[in-house]
């Protein structure tokens, strides 16, 4: 008897339907699996056979053929086990095919029939909904994750027997997830109020968060660059539902969701170590997985000591930072991962870290040149804001003056975001950082006086066309933060102060 059951796989961060077809017929007893399978999928035959036996369903001495369709795409992973088992049960006549139409089955089987959790449930359940499924069986542990998708009934099952009983009784009620009492441990959360001094860096961080701009901090060791970077997530506004879904999908594909598998509401913050490889940064592998830049999608990525990051890794970031997506090409096809991140980078001004404090710095001109040469100019060019994090004087560390709290800054950032969303309505842009090319002239219009200042700056400070546009972007963000519709002189001056560095700064 023939049966076919819907299962799914993940490509990039979207689900693709996979049909599991089983046919049991007379012939030489045996089990064959076809459909361009990797060994993890081929081994599924043994898992399913044993799990069925241990559930009380013996294998008949017949010829069993299993096909995973479409048969020309490579299939990986263990998520098809449950679908294969259900398909076998259907072919054995335990229940008719009509009972399992339009139902998605996901899950890995243990030999005793238990169903184990898998990766990438969220995009696959979403696929099921778009395919018109009403019901979806998935591992109990992945239930919360599946329930994120609205408009489909998710059933979390623990064993193969439970699955079978549910199908036979046609009991397709969504099981309730017990709302676990959230135990929030009250620990001191990082907050901008804990940082004394560093007003200029804090202002730059605020601007970066408001316009989703890339920030570069330069300063001696111990000046608080890392402390500030770690507090940037606390001033980012909450995600919209679409953003949350996209971020949760990426984490789902990577198997990085928390145990409860809830929808992620906090913007991700990633701080990869500087020894990171290219594939870990932008994504890779034979079956491409998202890298750090995609994991920080809609959030923030902090790269400490960027001069120590391998050059090829930095270069690989250039294209995603510009296009906000990563495209990974393999023989089997292209995968596109979102990479809309805000990059915060930190570095020392020289090898020993103290230049231009000549009492402490013992580098010679060539040392400094070599140190800075580790970062390419095109990469530096992608940073919108650049600020010095100075060494903090003792009085400031012990002073009683408190700055703004993260919550206060966040309010300002949220209203700046609001202004941008209103301005860019219908244009396809969302934030100042997205605006490109000719649209800059339109959205970043400045008055006569401001134009004059920009002209002066262009000549006296030897700006390039690119840095000129960055200044406009930052100035527009400063205006948004101030709640001003027009870019005013003050905003332009601030932006010039935070303009990008060029090699000349270190000309010794």
């Amino acid at each position: 008897m023939f049966s076919s059951i819907l299962s799914a796989d993940v490509r990039g961060i979207t689900g693709v339907p996979i049909l599991v077809e089983t046919d049991i017929s007379d012939g030489l007893p045996g089990l064959t699996m076809v459909g361009y399978l990797t060994s993890a999928v081929k081994e599924s035959a043994d898992r399913v056979r044993t799990a069925l036996k241990n559930t009380g369903i013996p294998m008949p001495p017949k010829k069993i053929t299993i096909n995973l369709s479409p048969a020309d795409t490579k299939k990986e992973g263990t998520g098809f086990d449950l679908a294969i088992a259900v398909s076998m049960m259907c072919s054995l006549g335990i229940f008719p095919q009509e009972w399992v139409e339009k139902i998605l089955f996901l899950g890995e089987l243990g030999l005793d029939g238990t169903i184990k959790k898998i990766r990438g449930v969220l995009p696959m359940v979403e696929l099921a909904r778009t395919q018109g499924c009403k019901v979806c069986f998935l591992p109990k542990e992945n239930l919360m994750e599946g329930q994120i998708v609205e408009g489909i009934c998710c059933i979390g099952v623990g064993t193969l027997r439970e699955t079978m009983n549910r199908i036979i009784q046609r009991d397709y009620k969504e099981n309730q997830t017990e709302d676990q009492l959230e135990e929030t441990i009250e620990e001191e959360q990082p907050d901008f109020v804990q940082i004394r001094g560093q007003e200029s860096v804090k202002q730059a961080a605020k601007l970066a968060a408001a316009g989703r701009l890339n920030l570069l901090m330069i300063g001696p060791p111990g000046s608080g660059k890392t402390m500030i970077a770690r507090r940037i997530p606390t001033i980012l506004p909450p995600m919209t539902r679409e953003e949350s879904l996209e971020v949760t999908k990426i984490y789902s594909v990577c198997g990085l969701l928390s145990k409860e598998g809830k929808l992620m509401t906090d913007r991700p913050f990633r701080a990869p170590h500087h020894t990171i490889s290219v594939s870990a940064m932008v994504g890779g592998g034979r079956k491409p997985m998202p890298g750090e830049i995609s994991l920080s999608n809609h959030g923030c990525m902090f790269l400490d000591e960027i001069t120590e990051v391998p050059r090829n890794v930095l270069e690989s970031l250039r294209q995603p930072l510009e296009d906000k997506v990563v495209q990974i090409s393999r023989v089997s096809g292209n995968d596109i991962f979102p990479a809309n991140t805000m990059l915060v980078a930190a570095m020392n001004p020289c090898k020993c870290g103290y230049y231009p404090d000549m009492n402490k710095c013992h580098c010679n001109a060539r040392d400094i040149y070599r140190y800075l040469n580790k970062i390419s100019m095109p990469f530096i060019d992608r940073m919108d804001l650049c600020v010095e994090a100075p060494r903090i004087a003792f009085e400031e560390l012990t002073g009683t003056e408190l700055g703004q709290t993260s919550a206060q800054i966040r309010e300002e950032v949220i209203s700046a975001h609001q202004m941008q969303l209103e301005r860019y309505q219908g244009s396809g842009y969302r934030f100042n950082s997205d605006v490109k090319g000719a649209d800059m002239e339109e959205y970043f219009r400045v008055g006569k006086t401001q134009k004059k200042i920009l002209e002066d700056a262009f000549e006296r400070l030897n700006l390039t066309a690119r840095s000129y546009h960055k200044i406009l972007k930052v100035a527009r963000t400063a205006a948004d933060l101030a709640g001003s519709q027009e870019i005013e002189t003050s905003h332009i001056l601030q932006a010039i102060c935070y303009r990008n560095v060029d090699r000349k700064f270190w000309a010794v």
């Binding site: 001094g197 560093q198 007003e199 200029s200 202002q203 330069i218 001004p349 230049y355 231009p356 000549m358 009492n359 710095c361 580098c363 010679n364 001109a365 650049c386 600020v387 010095e388 100075p390 903090i392 004087a393 400031e396 200042i453 002066d456 700056a457 006296r460 400070l461 002189t489 003050s490 001056l493 601030q494 010039i496 102060c497 560095v501 700064f505 270190w506 000309a507 010794v508």
Partner: protein
């Protein structure tokens, strides 16, 4: 060292010991070279010559001071000689050129090789009444052991040696030692006791070098009446807005960051940022590193 002028690259001359043009002062050297290579001119023997030397990795203050002394001296018809190195040397040449004076760079390698490459702009500007000098043949690479030898030429060609910033055991102190040998006056710019870059200078002063408190005093020693250079721009502070004025008055030749300026002026961070950018656009302030500012001198 048999070198015919015809074989030399364009613009470079070889001057033999016996030639009329050969600087008489060079003969004071017990190991006087057989000849020297010149690109541009040689120092005018009728005019006074001051050597300004110092650290390559100098502070912004050192660079500004070297440039200031060179400018003031050059404006009073004093020729400035140095080693065309980065830092103090370069600033001294630059200062002299700004005042329209003559300045000479003595290289360790051949005169056709600009070392360091970073000073190529200066190197090309030092023609006409200025010049590049070396005792090594064209094409000779500037290797380490040639540098002390070059220092002795800087010293012997000058009437007075001024050390601006030098660490302990700095190469500039070698020049000062030669100056002592050649009987030249030695002056040093004093610094704070805890300043690593002034330890060498302070040591020189302790040993009896002159205290270079101003270009005027150095001119007096050279027997010259001081005439103020008109190149030195005096900015009219009263055109500035109040905030700009407050920020400007806090600035010095020692680089300061935004935080410090904020603290000293008691202005808000944004006000300081605006003021400093405006001052920069007026050309009154120089940013010598990310958000580190000095007064433009």
């Amino acid at each position: 060292m048999k070198n015919d002028n015809k074989e030399l690259p364009e613009g470079i001359r070889y001057i033999r010991k016996g030639d009329k043009e050969f600087p008489e002062k060079m003969l004071e050297l017990y190991d006087c070279p057989e000849g020297i290579y010149v690109k541009g001119s040689l120092p005018n023997p009728e005019k006074k010559t001051v050597a300004i030397v110092g650290a390559r990795m100098c502070s912004a203050y050192g660079r500004a001071t070297a440039s200031y002394f060179a400018r003031e001296l050059a404006a009073n018809d004093v020729q400035i000689i140095s080693g065309l190195a980065l830092g103090i040397d370069g600033a001294a040449h630059q200062g002299a050129l700004l005042a329209g004076g003559a300045t000479f760079g003595v290289l360790a390698g051949g005169v056709d090789i600009c070392y360091p490459r970073g000073n190529i702009e200066l190197y090309t500007k030092m023609t006409g009444q200025s010049g590049i000098i070396s005792e090594e043949a064209c094409g000779c690479p500037p290797i380490a052991k040639l540098f002390p030898k070059r220092n002795r030429i800087i010293s012997v060609l000058s009437d007075l040696v001024l050390v601006v910033e030098a660490r302990q055991r700095s190469g500039s102190l070698i020049t000062a030692d030669f100056a002592m040998e050649h009987g030249r006056d030695i002056f040093a710019v004093p610094g704070r006791l805890d300043d690593e870059l002034s330890k060498g200078c302070n040591e020189l002063i302790f040993q009896g070098a002159g205290l270079a408190i101003s270009p005027e005093r150095v001119l007096e020693i050279l027997g010259k009446r001081n005439k103020k250079s008109d190149n030195f721009k005096k900015y009219v502070q009263n055109v500035l807005a109040r905030e700009e004025n407050m920020v400007y008055s806090c600035l010095s030749l020692h680089p300061q960051g935004l935080e410090e300026l904020c603290k000293h002026t008691q202005l808000s961070m944004i006000a300081v940022m605006e003021a400093i950018t405006l001052l920069q656009l007026r050309g009154m302030v120089k940013e010598i590193g990310r958000n580190r500012y000095i007064k433009e001198s």
